[in-house]
Amino acid sequence: MVHKFNRQFLFILEFIFFILIFTFTAQAQVSPKEMLEKADEARGSYEGVEVTVTMESNELGRKQYRVMKVSEKGYNCFLDTLAPSNVKGQRILMRDRNLWYANPGLSKPVPVSPRQKLIGVAVNGDIVSTNYTRDYKIVSTQDSILKGEDCILMNLEAVDKRTTYDRIKYWISKDRLVGVKGEFYTVSGKMFKSATFEYNNKITINGKPRDFISKAIITSAIIKDDFTIIDYSKPVQKKIPDALFNVNLLTK
């Protein structure tokens, strides 16, 4: 009887241990939502970052470029166009989901939608701070290998109609926790553009160094030869004042 009691006791102890171990390991794994949050951080810092963005687009054989200084903080973004000369001084201000466009020739800032074209295949919503964690819900995930890198493929659906895309397929590197590829779909389910991302810049988030986006290549799915290359260089982490995102100070 003592022998039988010992066996039962050992069995209960083992059971308790396995429950505890399961809990620990579950907490230690990064959830898909956390991975998406990390991937968002790598494309726009919530603390405040200033970066130089150079865009080159090729649309039906015609090339166009832009050089812009971009200041981002949280859900806010300010773009100031520096080159070429005939578009110098054009500005875009994003305050959460509100966008304004200002031009030296315009008397006042014009409210514009995220769908408005910026240059080439890129729209305003591609450049300003992306926040997939807030704007999209994760419908499903699956493991995937992309260019030899172990990734998780997330199927994202827009939480409401204010987002730029209705549905996104998003590949996030399991190793680096950055988004490496995206496919963007319309309401009808048709893919109309895709993008790949590189992260050769570094910034510091919560005291820890993190990869930060260095290049995005956006390709039209409708006209395969149309693409826009966006280079992000000289990222600088800094305290950005709230007044920079005030529309009263947008026009020069």
């Binding site: 050089v67 959460d96 510091t204 995102f245």
Partner: protein, 510 residues
């Protein structure tokens, strides 16, 4: 017994292995993964970036070259980095200055409407051809605590007349002025005090901005024509990301001209702005100094979806400062007078609008305007009947003139008489109900931008078509043009001044 001991040892071994595995995974997953990479770790303060070729496309060498050229030798002086502290003060100061230069050269061809408002083109003397060259340099000084800017302008205009008594006349004008300038002190990046000459505009509307008590022209009708600046003192307080408060005093009319040469009155305004997640709103209270008339303005916008914007802009005031026709004993039986200034009746002006952006980035905008101070049917009829009497009298006199010199004298007398009369109603829109439909699209084939607009005066049935295009010829040159076609009989708002106008020009940006 041996069998039981073996089972117990196996169980304990499983437990120990499981524990070891749990400990290994309990540390932060990303940290452990990051440490496992072979990448070099550089802290951002060194501003070092690495470029690796991993995509199928070549590096954008043009973009990189341009970026390098623009930023060569320029460090970010906002951050105190060891290498910046060694720079000379004048080198740091150089970074605060910037300048733009735009030169516009354009020609205009327009046909004055044959109407009672401008018989024989001798009332308004509209030139048939105009060539204009404008030099628009902008100079800026932007530092952490002080912003300065000045926008001097010079214009060279040549006019040719083809209608009326001035047929065959030519005229050459040049004008040199400062259209805008500003000095702004920034305190803690929350308080901004400024004084200067500005084209101070706000609001989401295209057609008209009724919430703005200073400017009747919001500059949206033609982006290439600058609105003349007025002098303002401003205090802007930004206590929070979502809120801002402005105190504004319009101290002088500056380059702007007031209707009927009425004396300038200071206007004081308090403006409160709020920006939320999906929308924004502003409230403006303004008061004229000497007449003490009050006006409350409002505008707001809502991002309904990624493609649809909805907005409104409005104002209410006691009475109206506009000039209305009044039957009296003057030469033609009526004259323009400010008869509603002291009314207690509340006069609203309300605009509602929406803009939808298609997948091709083209945007369709629809606006409706109710212009409360505008003329009703009786006032409009009295205005045009008085103008008809004046026009008939003028034609009769011209017919009876025996020589060209006598006709010239009559035309000069008419101009002299008109300059002593109030001829400007002081209204941006003459009547009360308007609608506007507009389509615009930018970056077509990376070169072209177009705007097409139809404005309808619902009250008198007249309308105006406006088209604008700009085409990039390179990094510095733009070809631009616009066209206006007015529809309506000679006793309507749009049918009474111009039949059509076309403009074509080149813009150089440096």
């Amino acid at each position: 017994m041996k069998k039981n001991l073996y089972k117990n040892i196996t169980s304990m071994a499983c437990i120990v292995m499981a524990l070891l595995f749990a400990i290994a995974n309990s540390t932060d997953a990303s940290e452990s993964l990051q440490d496992g990479t072979n990448r070099n770790q550089h802290i951002i303060a060194s501003n070092i970036t690495q470029q690796e070729e991993t995509s199928g496309y070549e590096s954008s060498t043009l973009a990189e070259e341009i970026s390098k050229e623009l930023f060569s030798g320029k460090e970010n002086t906002e951050i105190l980095m060891p290498e910046n502290e060694n720079k000379k003060s004048w080198q740091k100061l150089e970074n605060y200055f910037s300048a733009d230069l735009r030169i516009l050269a354009y020609g205009v061809a327009q046909n004055p409407a044959e109407s009672n408002r401008n018989p024989n083109n001798d009332f308004l003397e509209i030139p048939h051809y105009v060539t204009n060259t404008e030099i628009r340099p902008d100079f800026y000084f932007n530092s952490n605590y002080l912003d300065l800017s000045v926008k001097p302008r010079s214009t060279f205009q040549y006019n040719i007349w083809k209608e009326g008594m001035r047929d065959g006349d030519t005229d050459w004008n040049d004008d040199w002025y400062v259209n805008e300038w500003i000095a702004r002190v920034k305190a803690w990046n929350k308080l901004f005090l400024s004084y200067g000459r500005e084209n101070l505009q706000w609001g989401p509307s295209f057609l008209y901005s009724p919430s703005n008590p200073f400017f009747s022209d919001n500059g949206r009708s033609n982006n290439y024509m600058e609105v003349q600046g007025m002098d303002f003192a401003r205090i802007l307080f930004v206590p929070h990301l979502n809120w801002s408060i402005s105190l504004i005093v319009n101290t002088d009319e500056g380059r702007n001209s007031l209707p009927n040469s009425e004396p300038f009155e200071k206007i004081y305004a308090l403006k409160v702005d709020y920006t939320g997640i999906n929308g924004y709103a502003s409230l403006i209270y303004s008061r004229k100094d000497s007449s003490q008339s009050n006006k409350i303005g409002f505008f707001g916008g809502w991002t309904a979806s990624d493609a649809l914007l909805l907005y409104t802009e409005s104002s209410v005031q006691n009475g109206s400062d506009a000039w209305y026709p009044v039957t009296d004993s003057s030469l033609f039986g009526a004259s323009l007078q400010q008869v509603h200034q002291d009314d207690d009746d509340v006069t609203p002006t309300i605009l509602v609008g929406g803009a939808y952006t298609f997948l091709n980035s083209g945007t369709l905008t629809l606006e409706y305007l109710y212009n409360g101070p505008g003329y009703d049917r009786d006032a409009a009829n009295l205005t045009f009947s008085t103008l008809k009497k004046a026009a008939d009298a003028y034609y009769s006199l011209m017919k009876s003139a025996e020589s060209d010199s006598e006709k010239d004298e009559l035309a000069d007398s008419l101009q002299e008489y008109l300059s002593s009369q109030n001829t400007d109603p002081g209204l941006r829109f003459l009547r009360r109900n308007y609608a506007m439909l507009q389509y615009y699209q930018v970056n077509i084939r990376n070169r072209l931008a177009i705007t097409l607009r139809w404005t309808q005066n619902i009250d008198d049935g007249s309308g105006q078509f406006f088209g604008l295009f700009s085409y990039q010829l390179g990094d510095h040159w733009d070809l631009f043009g616009s066209g206006i076609i007015n529809a309506g009989n000679k006793n309507t708002e749009y049918g009474s001044i111009l039949d059509y106008q076309g403009m074509l020009g080149l813009k150089l940006s440096l």
